[in-house]
Symmetry: D2
Subunit: 493 residues, 4 copies
């Protein structure tokens, strides 16, 4: 999970990129970076940490220029710390910086090709560095002495032809401007906004429309799957379809959990989609147990609030904020001779006993992945005196890895892996466990846009819209194991 | 606003104090400190910043000992940065550390007495340092070679006799243990908890019961107004009433805004009190406009959620989370040559247009102080398309300064200062402004505890339960002005 | 080893104290601190680290006031890190800050008395905190409501009566000014300087005159043994002899190693004293081996340069800087799987082979303590091709612990402990080892001042001018062992 | 001025590169960096600051691999802070890292060619980035799929053909090893060392032999002007002359000031060369004033000590260390309302009055550039009581800019610019000013190596061995001015 942002403005954009990153920070808290074009020079600063910690006044004062891109990153399997913070950068040809949200599934092959055919060295484990070099190589192949829009569209086409996976990308190409594109299925989001300033039109591209809102850009439209979009240094917007149309299939997990509720994606309000998820869950509950004994609906903060509220209203049961989130969680110190520390979930949540005491409560979460947190929360509800504890998940069981850029544990760690719903219910200790039906989830989102009726639902269905190269999952498992080993080695150093 | 915590345990308590502080952090984010007793030595670490930033592994490893106190601080008028972080410390007599939540109103007189009669130098502007030295002086007067419980109770009595104001206090007295007390009206909160470990009984005292919950202590009871409480180094609990009974009058603002909803104070659930505030507000609305046209009730996050929910349910109007809070607000950089930055409230909140478009909405806030944020939020609601924007405040108009430890701007800056409700409505741009009635607010809290029917409501009523020494408000205004001047001087340095 | 400094000026002295500390830094690189009087308030900042790292612009801007003291500290046995940085501070009576260079030998008794009789808690292992509390207690005993000069002189007298050891002390007494004093034997140095500014006379007191030079103060005279000196807040200089005259016996190690060559101490030029040490060594060499075969005299940088130069000139042998000191020594990282690191002395010194190849060289050091460095350096000289390697020490064998404030290893670690000079010569691998005679060392210093003919030479002679309380050396050994244990415990945490 | 280092070892070299950098730190204290090859990955860490501050344990633990290069940098005109720290890196072709000591004079042309013909973007003002891209472009031109030694030699030849200036370079080429080379005149130094470990031969290349000494490598020989040298990943040493022989002309300033005295350069001992400079100066003095009245020779520490010592011995006048250097210089704080701070030179040096009082002294410095420091030091000598103050410079007047990598002020700022020696003498306030003759300086160095009789002496003679492209000096002046302006702009931000 990452957030990307690009602005072509009429005055310095460093501070706007900074502000915009802060509202995309929920997509990645691990690292942040900004690159700007200042005349013939690119200024780049990136490091591990939250946006507010990565940039100080000196950094910001260097990030001059009215064109720039920004990125925030979530750690993904195989990541190596600050080396993999984005934007990435190559100086040949032209000077190109790139920020990427998503994941490629044919990286190993591309890496080999890049080295053997193109003699480009990929120095990190990041597929984003691979993607940048594919793009750069195709730009270089054009042979032009100056970067042209034509070259860039051709390079985007070549990227679509060579790269398999989900990707939304913003790049800076020196001498041309911002070049942006999305994978051919439109798995990862990218939305265009426009602002009319006194000095002319300004453009922005962002993972989520909330960044446009904050910065006063008006949402125009989503970048289309396979489309190449260029905003020249002069502020001209150029667009070209750079791949044959394929099945449009945005990632449905964005609506379930990842995106902010106040974002519009593919013309669908995430907030409204979540309300509909709650309604659908309520209908399922009423269908299964018309005479249910639920006395209160309690969200597990923060994401599930919206669905829980609609669920409660549809059920006509009281909605109650029975859990309070600790906003100031501290570090965990391991001290010799000290008694056992507070359990991790208790350090993040506290139950209001009055809402649980002797009641039958329905807890609502957006999804259930490992199930460990669910088990602890159910336990907390019981300790707070709940008579019965039910749990509803706004998404179906997560049974398959996400390979398009959402960080998840390995499939073996999913509580739903090789388990029936009944077995999961028992394992997490719920008196009743209700999962959303996949069709209901799809309906909840597609109801917002008549033209949208297909999604990447691979986590739930195991169907991968792009196809998966042979050996990919095996390599992934190996990389995870190696990474875990390397982490241990470093921590010993 | 500050949070205090004390533990007398059977094994090292440093990590528990740290964890406990994190859930009291909402009471003060400006500075934090911990002091522990380790044999004949006190370890103390304090600094400006959040708990998670103030303590590192090395600090924690030094904070050995099974007895300790902790403090988190909110900046108050006249504060001077890290010098005023707590606990404060004197080495004579015995070695005494102190953490204080509240504010004294006769500090100037006490400071003079301490210097002239007791030759104790007070080095900061902090009334907490004054309080410590009054206590220390009274301990010294006992003439005992070792600190005894009797001396401590006598010193607490003397503090009650000499100090006017609101205060909840935890102290470490070397050779005795923890000594705790509350002011004679019980304005500021302090609650006792108990945990039975294999090695014997353990005790904790905290500003709010949520810290006890986190650490597995069972809430026993609130420390009584004017009571002195000692937990000896051996773990024995001693208590004595150290002042004549006076009107019990806890600060009602704790229930409105300051305390966490999951805390119990004076046996009243803060959460339930807020639900009742919402109900009362709804009744007032129904009374004033039985045919109101409200289509949605929307809380201004986070504190007002509970009241808003009850309000909506009582009105039988949809409750909607129309504002999304930005959780990762960054720093404000002022860059030369950059276009105007995003307005401050927009950096903290974003409106979900769908909940506002063409609707008549009722926004709910816990209280209205300066009114500037209210005005900006109402403006945001209108820009999001609201047809009409009403605003309800769960508390009555704030018209008088709080002098018992809640940081507020000067009275002149209150929007309600010298203004009628109608004038305020107009100033903040609301189509309708509804304030809670003071009696309804009092009822909302006292309904939770039959024995509790009086409060400090001075912010609303201007009645100060302790009486206020002549000249106090004038001195306060002067200190504010001086402090503002000093701040300017430093920033120029 | 510590450096102390005090200034009573006519304008802010914070920056001058900072600058002055930097030229006293050779006396202590472990911690630094400054306290200033700003009206009725004391500003204090201290921390572990070099002066340049301890203070930033914000700290300095707070250290307002035209009166202040400063301290830099060397780690001593039993030290506990930042808790023991100086100046120390008590707020009762009056507010007193203190900086101390030296060491007391009856601390344990004083600590007991302070607690039992005076009920003052000493929180650290520092004898300086003890000294401050003795002084503070005696000030308190005066019973005056305001601190007077008379009280201060009486308190200094009481300190001299109660404290045994070496100490040079500067204090800030709020409402009075700076109070300074030296122990009755004048073991540790303190020198007074005067500067005439347009606004009146300004005074400074410093461990070494070099700080006066830097700040433009003219050296007036040394503070006398047992003298109490007060510089009032108004800038008046008061002095009184506060103890019966005893044998004046400054620490001779200051001249050998500790002080800067450009300092004047007791009207003796440290530089000239070192030249004389070199001459005396040369005479001994000529006496013992009139036909010596020394071809080059090579100092071990930096301290021994002066003596080595005079030695070479007296011998009429070439003086050569055969060792180059590495000025940028880095940290030591212990990496898994890496080959052995460079030996520690090689990281600090490098030999110029041309000055050693096939030569008989005389290396000169100021003194020999553990002997391990000497052995390594002699080895380096051999590896650089020296035919013969002689070593001369400008001081006699170090055989007894210093108890008056110079940090040394325990006596068992001295190479000269229980060994003859011949055995030492063999152990460190020298072809010839020449030690200074103690009488020659004494002559070298006393030649500079007719009135000065006695010194504390305890490291060499084992004669402690103050007498040593029974059990002191045993306690010291125990404290060392405990400290080593605690250090291991912390590093595991 | 920069220091470079490369090691091809048999085990991890990160710590050795770190240690080696610390003894090259005198060549550049502005920034430091290390790059290592770890399998197919390059680890790179670089930042502004001293070596000891740039690298922490985490950085070092990442710098795995048995092949690596390192760099320390001095700020040069036009530098832009951390962006220009070295090693620089390109990923196309192969992955190449480069560290460079020196300066090119045809950068502008190369930059243009690189962009227009090779489409390589140079993002900083650094000529080292240009040099890397020239080398990389030539490697790319080879068309090989794997980097071969043949390609590398061809690329070095092309660099020699295209680049004009002084440069010593170490590079990492992934898949090949370390490639190193010096400019065709051998202006900047680079020396090869060898160490035989149990696992095979290890090689190191360094700016100065002192780094080889520290790490236990035996000095083999200097890299030859125009030579290309490869140490393969397997540890094989390959060498080829990559340019026609030209006049060998090492920078004579290395011997005067820049290099450490314990370094061997071109088989000449820097230390011995400096002794000879002192002797030659003495001869000039004796020639000009056979009856001179010099009573003491006093070096201005640290560099001039060696020459001053030989000068004194030849004159048969006492050598005295009359100035003591402050080793702990702090920061300069500018405080409002404080009296004037200590003058800068006084914060770095202190005079021992006894060596000046009523004497005629000869101060010795290595060279005189701006003359401001000389003037202040002469003034200090007078204030210390000197009767007459003479000044000798071990180098001739500096009258022309150094364009081969030594940072100097612009020519207009040289005190000798457009001034006769007599005018300079007057300006700096010396009673007599003696400059070394250029021929004597040349003799002092060339005496150490029969084959070495030509040098780059451009600072003194204005003769630039490489020739200087038209417009170079004008561009340099402009860059300086722009940089000064930009610095002001940033500091305002």
């Amino acid at each position: 999970m990452c957030g990307i942002l690009a602005i072509v403005g009429r005055s310095d954009v460093g501070a706007a990129l900074y502000d915009g990153l802060t509202v995309l920070q929920h997509r990645g808290q691990d690292a942040a970076g900004i690159a700007t074009v200042d005349g013939a020079r690119v200024h780049l600063h990136k490091a591990n940490g939250l946006v507010k910690d990565v940039f100080n006044t000196e950094h910001m004062s260097r990030l001059r220029g009215r064109i720039g891109i920004a990125h925030c990153r979530y750690p993904t399997a195989g990541s190596e710390g600050a080396d993999e913070a984005q934007p990435f950068w190559v100086n040949s040809p032209f000077g190109i910086a790139l920020g990427h949200n998503g994941n490629l599934v044919n990286t190993n092959l591309l890496r080999k090709e890049l080295f053997e055919q193109d003699r480009r060295h990929i120095n990190t484990g990041s597929d984003s560095e691979v993607l940048l070099n594919v793009f750069a190589h195709e730009m270089q192949n054009s042979g032009s002495l100056r970067a042209t829009a034509e070259d860039a569209f051709r390079a985007v086409s070549a990227v679509h032809a060579r790269c398999i996976g989900g990707y939304a990308v913003v790049t800076l190409v020196l001498g041309l401007g911002v070049v942006a594109f999305r994978d051919v299925h439109g798995i990862r989001p990218l939305v265009l906004g426009r602002r009319d300033s006194d000095d002319g039109v300004e453009w922005a591209l962002a993972s989520e429309s909330v960044a446009l809102d904050l910065l006063g850009f008006k949402r125009e439209r989503d970048v289309r799957p396979g489309e190449g979009m260029i905003i020249t240094e002069q502020g001209e917007l150029l667009s070209q379809q750079c791949a044959e149309p394929k099945q449009h299939a945005p990632c449905i997990f964005e609506y379930v959990y990842l995106a902010r509720p106040d974002s519009m994606m593919e013309d669908v309000s995430v907030y409204k989609a979540r309300l509909r998820m709650g309604e659908k869950l309520a209908q399922k509950i009423l269908h299964l147990r018309p005479d249910h004994d639920i006395e209160a609906v309690i969200p597990i903060p923060d994401t599930s609030r919206t669905a829980a509220l609609a669920l409660a209203q549809t059920l006509d049961v009281k909605y109650r904020e029975g859990f309070v989130k600790n906003r100031y969680v501290g570090r965990t110190f391991i001290m010799p001779g000290q008694s056992e520390r507070v359990k991790s979930v208790r350090r993040k949540l506290n139950a209001i006993e009055l809402e649980f005491r002797n009641k039958c409560v329905l807890l609502v979460d957006d999804s259930i992945v490992r199930g460990t947190t669910s088990r602890q929360i159910i336990q907390m509800a019981r300790e707070a005196g709940a008579r019965k504890v039910y749990l509803a998940s706004a998404a179906p069981p997560v049974r398959h890895p996400n390979v398009y850029g959402i960080d998840m544990p390995s499939a073996e760690e999913f509580v739903a892996h090789d388990r029936s719903e009944q077995e999961i219910e028992q394992l997490i200790g719920a008196d009743w466990l209700i999962y959303q039906e996949l069709d209901d989830l799809i309906w909840s989102v597609s109801e917002g846009n008549d033209d949208l009726n297909h999604f990447d639902t691979s986590c739930f269905s195991g169907e991968y819209i792009t196809g998966i190269p042979t050996g990919y999952f095996e390599d992934l498992a190996r990389a995870r194991a190696d990474h875990a080993k390397a982490a241990r080695r470093v921590s010993k150093g």
